[in-house]
Structures are given as C-alpha cells and as structure tokens.
C-alpha cells in the first residue's frame, strides 16, 4: 500500500515536472519563433527597467514606429502590385529570416524590422507593465519584501534618468511651448500624468503655493527656478497680449550675508529670465512709506509701534489721534520721516490747524499736548532703527522684481515693522488702480516676522487683492506659529505644495490624501519555509505621498503635491553668469569691476585689480603729472 502510494506520488511529480518542461519548451519555442520581436521586447523591457521608464513610454515608442510600418507596406504594395502581397509581406519577411537564402543575416533582420520593432516594443511594454503591476500588488518576486527592493531600485533608476535629463543644456526650458513653467525632470508621478518634463501651468503660479524644505535640500534652487519661470512666462504672455507685466516681490525674512548672496543669485537668474531690473531692498533701492494714502499711512504708522492692552490702550488711542493729526494735516501728508517727525510737535500741529475751520482738531491737539513729545520720541527711535529703506524715493513700479531683505534673525522687532510696512506699501500699490502688474509675493520664513501680521492674514489679504503668495519655510513648524495657521495655509495652497526633504512631512503628506492599492498576502509552505504564490488580495488605502520617501529625498529632488497627486522631480538648477569674486575677501583694495552679465565688451581690457594696502587713501601716489598734462595745473583758488 505504501509502495503504491509512493509510486503515485512519484508519477504525479514526474508528470508535473514534465508539464512544466513542456510549457517552458513551448514558451521558448514561441520566443525563438518570434525572435526579432521578442528580442526587441527584451531590449525594450530591459531599457525600461534600467532607466525607470513607465510602460507608456514603450507604447508611445511603438506608436511612433507606425509611420515606418506604413511606409514599408506602401513600398511592398508598389513592389508586389497586389493587396494579397501586402497582407502576406510580414509572414514572408519572417519566413525569409529563417529559411531565406541568407537566414538570420542582417539583411533578413532589416526586412522584418518594420514589423518586429513596433510589435516588440508593445510586447515589451506589456511585459514591463505586468512586472510593475505584480510587484506593486505584492504577487511578484520570491518574497514579499522583493516589492520593496524593486521599488527602491526603480526609484534609483528613475532619479538617475532624471538627473541625466536635466544635465543637458537647454533640456528644461523656463517656459514650455504651451506656456507652462519648466521646473525640472520628472522622476515619478502618482496620480499625475507622466512625462519627461515637470511643468507647472502658469495659472498655478498666480495662486497660493507653499514650499517646505530644510537647509541644503535645494529649496533656494527651486525657488529661483520658480521665480525665474514666473518672470519669463509672464513676460512672454505680456508680449503676446495675454497678460499684464509681472512683478515679483520677495521677502527674505532671515537676512544676513546669506540673504544677500541669494539676492545676488536671484538678480542674475531673473535677468536671464528677462527682468530688466531687480531692486535689492534696502541695500540698493528704497521704498517710500510716505506714498501711502493718508488714512492707510496713519494705520501703518500706528501699527509699527508696539503697544499693549489695558492702560496702554489709552495711550494707543492718543497716539493714533496724534499721528492722524500729523498725517492728515491741511497742508497734505508728510513727504519724509523728517517731515513727519517735525509735525509731532504741539506748536506745529496748532499752527497747522489754526485756520479757524479745525476747532475740533485744535482741541484734540491741546488735549494730547502732554503726550505728543513722548509719541515723537517713540517714532524718532523707530524711524531711526528702520533706516532709510522706507524713506524713499522709489516704489514697486520701479523694477520688475524686488528682493527685500529683512533682518529677522538679527533684529526681529525692526524686521517685523519693516515687513508690516512693506506689505502695506505693496497692498496700496496693488489697489491703487493704476497698477497693471501680475504680482507674485514670495515670503521666505515669514513666520519669523509675522507677530504683527499673521501669515494667514497676509494670505487672506493677498487673495482679496489678487496677489499670489508663495510661502516657504524650512519645516512644517516654520510655516506659522500654531497648528491651525499651518493647516489654514497649507489647505488653501491652490497652486500646490512643494515638498523637499524635511524631517516631519506627515502633516503635508496627509493633505495629499490616499489612493487605493492592492495588497496581497502570501503563504509560507514546506518544512523549509518558502513563500508560495498562494494567498489573498484586498484593497487598502495608501497615502499618495510616502513620508518615508520625502524624508529620503536627495538634494534637488522635490515632490509637487497638487489635487491629490504628486509629481516627484529633479529640479533643474538655473545656470547663471558666475558672480564676481568679492575682492574684500581676498585683498583689502577697492572693488574690481564685477563680471559682466552682458557682452564681452563689458570687460575693461585690463580690469583694475585691488591696490595693495600701501596705497591707502592718505598715501596716494602723485598723479598730478598726468592730470597736468591732460588738463593743466590745478587752478589757484
């Protein structure tokens, strides 16, 4: 009985083995028979694996081969002069590959190529799609964790391909043909259409956006790319009569030397994008607080001064009244800080309102007389600390882009006041009616200076003014001061969220939502446990954005979250004209001419290098011989 059972087991095993061998033989025979197509399919699938391509790319390649097939069929029809000849041409080509005068020769392969290549590419695409699907659902591979290894390997391949794509000069234009902003090369998409170039439609730049990424992850590179893309695209639209001139206003709320270096990069990037002028505030350009409408000027000036509650509220009211009197005096609003401070004087105010028609104001001046001196002192201190950057001349209309540096790290209270004033000036500019600009306000680490103007308030205000706001921060926590504000900002980012490497991406990742994926369990079988291909599958919800992937992003990689999908991309760095070497860092002499951004003729034939310390100002060498030769001796007084 036992022997009979053993024989049965042996026969069953042998039959099973025979069946498998036969099946393998049939498959091998089919593959060999279709050799040209199967060869192309194998090459296509291998390339797709190596480069991390989606199967659609192989399908598209197959479609692009159809003109070749059509030409071949037409040529065959002309040669054979019969429809049946065309119908059997592929079969004859295949036959001659194996049984022709020169089987398996290059000529025979060339004859079958017009059919074999598209068929092979399509077959390779199907095979690759099957492989991805089986690994994604957990049914492929020897073990369940094979899917994880496969995914990681594919990510590496896709990232490598994306890096290769952006390495070519001009591969990622700032503005694509359809008027979108080219941001970089696509690594992978989830819920978004794929493609080689990650491009953002221009309207999204006219909506609110959020950018989150820690230091050293390529956030500045991404921001520069977006700003330059916005500028280039908007200028192009304006030239085509489709939009207004752009205005980019950047508030760098950290300040310091880094901010100035970024400002320099931004200026060069924007110049490449077509911006004629980039104002760097307050180092090189100024804005005029005094150009605000009188009512707004009063509000802004009062808000610039810190005042508490309780007894201080009374003082705030007195201050508002005095400032209002000074600003809305009959002779017109103040033109400068000095003018304003001169007005904070009981004598000046009495004289200004003593025409006989302003009895109420005069009474106000008299009752506030004792506090006016204190108010003047506070404003004198504030305006001195604010510096000349808000004392004009100048306005947002003077340049295509403004890079405003706020010393939010070194002098928080000053930076807060500056931020408040700049936003008010911009709001006034946007609402003036005469402005015809499409404005993008980009704020970096605004939470550092947002005590007096919460970010969400800025958001709401910008929305009502038609401004687009782009908020960037180093982390989720840096976006705003409390959780409600953070969610309010992130949830209203209609233009999308850019996520670079950050240690705590979960809240943002959760905003992207979930998607349905198939999960498969696999059984362990045998005494030496191996995973069989038996099990059950079920649908589960997976986050669209994988927080672990965000945490592992490399420098220059970013995830763009928009409407429940994400596009991972490798940001293309803008290549700008190199900055001039700062002479102060190497030698103590005066600055040499900066490296020109324009033509070579910008270079002096022999740029003046830094003089040695020996040529200090008080020991200048005598150049009078030259000057006397050219212009004669110095005239006597």
């Amino acid at each position: 009985m036992i022997w009979r059972w053993l024989r049965l087991v042996a026969v069953r095993g042998a039959l099973r083995l025979l069946g498998r061998v036969l099946r393998a033989a049939v498959v091998a025979a089919l593959v060999i028979a279709a050799a040209p197509a199967s060869l192309v399919a194998a090459i296509g699938a291998a390339l797709a694996w190596l480069r991390g391509w989606p199967p659609a790319r192989l399908y598209r390649a197959a479609l692009w081969c159809l003109p070749m097939v059509a030409v071949w069929l037409v040529a065959t029809a002309i040669a054979t002069r019969s429809a049946s000849g065309v119908a059997v041409a592929p079969y004859h080509a295949w036959l001659s590959l194996w049984h022709g005068a020169h089987p398996a020769s290059p000529a025979a392969f060339a004859a079958i190529a017009p059919v074999a290549i598209p068929v092979g590419l399509a077959a390779g695409g199907l095979a690759w799609a099957y492989r991805i699907r089986s690994m994604g659902t957990g049914t492929g591979g020897l073990s369940p964790d094979a899917a994880v290894s496969f995914d990681l390997r594919q990510w590496r391949h896709q990232a490598r391909s994306a890096r290769a794509r952006i390495a070519a000069p001009g591969a990622i234009p700032l503005t694509t043909r359809d008027g979108s902003l080219g941001a970089g090369a696509v690594i992978r998409t989830v819920g978004h259409p794929g493609g080689p170039i990650a491009s953002i439609p221009y309207p999204r730049m006219r909506s609110h956006q959020v950018v989150i990424g820690t230091t050293g992850t390529g956030k500045t590179t991404l921001l520069l790319r977006l700003w330059a893309g916005f500028m280039a695209t908007a200028l192009r639209r304006h030239a085509a009569g489709q939009g207004r001139l752009p205005l980019l206003v950047v508030l760098d709320c950290k300040g310091g030397a880094d901010a100035r270096r970024i400002a320099d990069r931004a200026r060069r990037a924007l110049r490449l994008a077509g911006a004629r002028s980039t104002a760097i505030w307050p180092d090189e350009a100024s804005l005029s607080l005094w150009a605000l409408p009188p009512a707004q000027l009063t509000t802004t000036l009062v808000d610039l001064i810190e005042h508490g509650t309780g007894a201080a509220a009374y003082y705030a009211d007195v201050m508002e009244a005095v400032v209002g009197l000074a600003v809305e005096a009959p002779g017109g609003p103040p033109a400068s800080a000095a003018d304003f401070l001169a007005r904070l004087d009981p004598g000046w105010l009495t004289m200004a309102y003593s025409s006989g028609e302003h009895e109420a104001e005069l009474a106000l001046v008299r009752s506030a007389g004792r506090q006016t001196g204190d108010i003047a002192l506070r404003f004198r201190t504030l305006l001195r600390r604010l510096g000349g950057g808000l004392d004009g001349p100048g306005g947002f209309g003077d340049a295509d882009a403004w890079y405003c540096i706020l010393e939010g790290t070194a002098e928080i209270s000053v930076a807060e006041a500056q931020a408040r004033a700049i936003v008010d000036i911009l709001a006034s500019y946007a609402t003036a009616g005469r402005q015809d600009r499409e404005i993008l306000l980009a704020v970096d680490e605004f939470s550092a200076v947002s005590r007096r103007l919460p970010v969400w308030q800025l958001y709401e205000r910008a929305r009502s003014l038609g401004l687009a706001v782009q908020v960037s921060a180093q982390s989720w926590e840096g976006l705003a001061t409390d959780e409600d504000e953070r969610y309010r900002i992130a949830a209203t980012a209609d233009g999308g969220i850019w996520l670079l490497r950050t240690p705590h991406p979960e809240p943002v990742a959760a905003l992207a939502g979930t998607r349905k994926v198939t999960e498969t369990t696999r059984q362990l079988t045998g005494r030496i446990a191996v995973w069989s291909h038996r099990g059950t599958s079920r649908l589960r919800l997976d986050p669209v954005v994988d927080p672990a992937l965000i945490r592992a992003l490399d420098v220059g990689q970013a995830g763009y979250i928009f409407r429940g999908g994400v596009t991972y991309l490798q940001v293309k760095r803008l290549v700008t004209v190199p900055a001039a070497v700062t002479p102060a860092a190497t030698s103590p002499g005066p600055a040499t001419p900066a490296t020109p951004p324009q033509a070579d003729t910008e270079h002096p034939p022999a740029p003046a290098p830094a003089p040695s310390p020996a040529r200090a100002p008080h020991r200048l060498p005598d150049a009078s011989s030259l000057l006397d030769d050219a212009f004669g001796a110095e005239p006597a007084p």
Binding site: A257, R260, A263, D264, R267, R268, R271, R276, S277, T278, A279, D283, E284, A285, S286, P393, G394, A399, I405, A579, T582, P583, A584, P588, G589, P590, A591, T592, P593, A594, Q598, A599, T601, E602, P604, P605, A606, P607, A608, P609, A610, P611, S612, R615, P617, H618, L620, P621, D622, A623, S625, L626, L627, D629, A630, F631, G632, E634, P635, P637
Partner: protein, 246 residues
C-alpha cells in the same frame, strides 16, 4: 579698425559732435563727416544738428548690436548735450596725455555704468561721469587704482557736492554689482575723484573738498579742457541786424 574704435567711442559717450568725433578718430572734420556718412549708410549711426556747433552723431540700435552693447538706442538728450560734450572733451584730453597711454588706462563710461545698474533701480546712487581703471601691471605710480571722473559745468550747492564726493569716496562695490559685494566699511572703490570744472563751478567744488576734511585729499580739481563747452549759438543775420538797429 580705427573706425570701429570710433563707433565704440560714440556708443559709449551717448553721442559725439563732429569736431570731437574727428579728434577721437584722429582725422580732420571732413574725413570724420565721410566716416559718419558711411555709418549712416550702414544704418549703424544717425546724425543731426541737435544744438549749436557741428552735427551730432549717435549709434543706432543696429550699431549697438554690431558693437555688442546692450544700451538703449536713441539720440543724446537735448538737455544733456552740454554735459555730454564736456565729458567727451575730458575723455579726449585724458586719452591724449602720454601718461594715460603708458599706464594703459581704460575709460568706463557713464552709459556703461548705468547699463549695469539696469532700469531705475538704485535711484539714490550717484553715478560718476566716467571711471578710469589702471591695470595693476601698469608702469605708473597709480597702477591698480580706479578713478571717478566728474565734469561740473554749473555749480551745485556745496552740501550736494559734498554728498556726492562722500558717496564716491566711500563706495565699496561696483555699480550694479551683486549685493554681497557692497560691504559697509570695506575698502573704497575709487582711489580718487577727479573733478573737471567750468570756472563758474570751481569755487563750489573747492569749498566742498575743504568741507570733506581729510578724505578731500583724494579729490583732484582741474579746469575743463578747452573746447569742452558747447559753442555759443551764432545769432541769425536778421536777428543780429535787428539787435544792432537802435
């Protein structure tokens, strides 16, 4: 080659009058007129009589493109003709001096400086009428220096002149340079400032230099070279006769 340099010279100076063009080209006025005519034929330049004296020649957009200069094309502003002529005279006089050639001096024009600034940005900054750069390897004592050139035809207020002098003497970065280059308290860009004054403006400039104190030692004052002023308008014959008639 000489003509190319003349075209570049004209482009850098906004525009030049015929006698100054002749001086820049090192030819007579008749020959300069022919050259200007040729430039017009090539659409590289335009000529017109904009004020008293000879015709002015300026470089067109096509000429600027040929020179590789990205300046805004246009005739010299009528209100600045006198100033442009004065600055051109200063440049010609300086370039004619033996020490200038020996030192390999390079004139960096106001137009180039303004082009570097771009648009209306930096309105608070004063742009000199020119800069002269001396190569470090030049065989002159002032090698490696950068000079600011100012031509003063009419007197400003002393305080305004002091402010301009102080700005020029304390500036650290290049015009239109990256913001990172502007270092407060850093070494000055201009080793000295050369003021070329009309006789009327000289006392104000001298007073301003005195008011500066020790930094004033870096300010040199000279009179404008001969021919720097625009020629006086020649009264029309009829007008002259009317004036002469009692």
């Amino acid at each position: 080659m000489r003509q190319t340099e003349g075209l570049l010279f004209t482009a850098e100076m906004y525009g030049v009058q015929l006698d100054q063009l002749a001086a820049a080209l090192g030819v007579g006025e008749a020959r300069a007129r022919t050259i200007a005519h040729r430039w017009r034929g090539q659409r590289y330049a335009e000529s017109a009589r904009l004020g008293p004296g000879g015709p002015w020649t300026w470089v067109t957009r096509a000429g600027l493109a040929a020179c590789g200069l990205r300046y805004t094309a246009g005739p010299p502003a009528l209100g600045r003709l006198a100033h442009i002529r004065a600055v051109t005279a200063v440049r010609l006089a300086l370039e004619a001096a033996p020490g200038y050639v020996a030192g390999g001096g390079y004139w960096r024009s106001e137009r180039r400086l303004r082009a570097r600034m771009g648009g209306r940005v930096g309105l608070r900054q004063h742009i000199p009428d020119g800069e002269v750069h001396w190569p470090d390897s030049a065989a002159v004592a002032w090698a490696g220096e950068c000079w600011a050139i100012e031509a003063e035809l009419t007197p400003k207020t002393t305080s305004r002149t002091v402010a301009i002098m102080r700005e020029l003497l304390t500036r650290t970065g290049d015009y239109g340079c990256p913001a990172a280059e502007i270092v407060a308290g850093g070494p000055p860009r201009h080793a000295r400032v050369i003021y070329l004054c009309a006789p009327a403006a000289r006392p104000t400039v001298a007073r301003a230099r005195e008011a500066l104190g020790s930094p004033g030692a870096r300010v040199e004052i000279r009179l404008l070279p001969p021919g720097a002023e625009l020629p006086s308008p020649v009264p029309r014959r009829g007008a002259a006769s009317r004036q002469a008639t009692p």
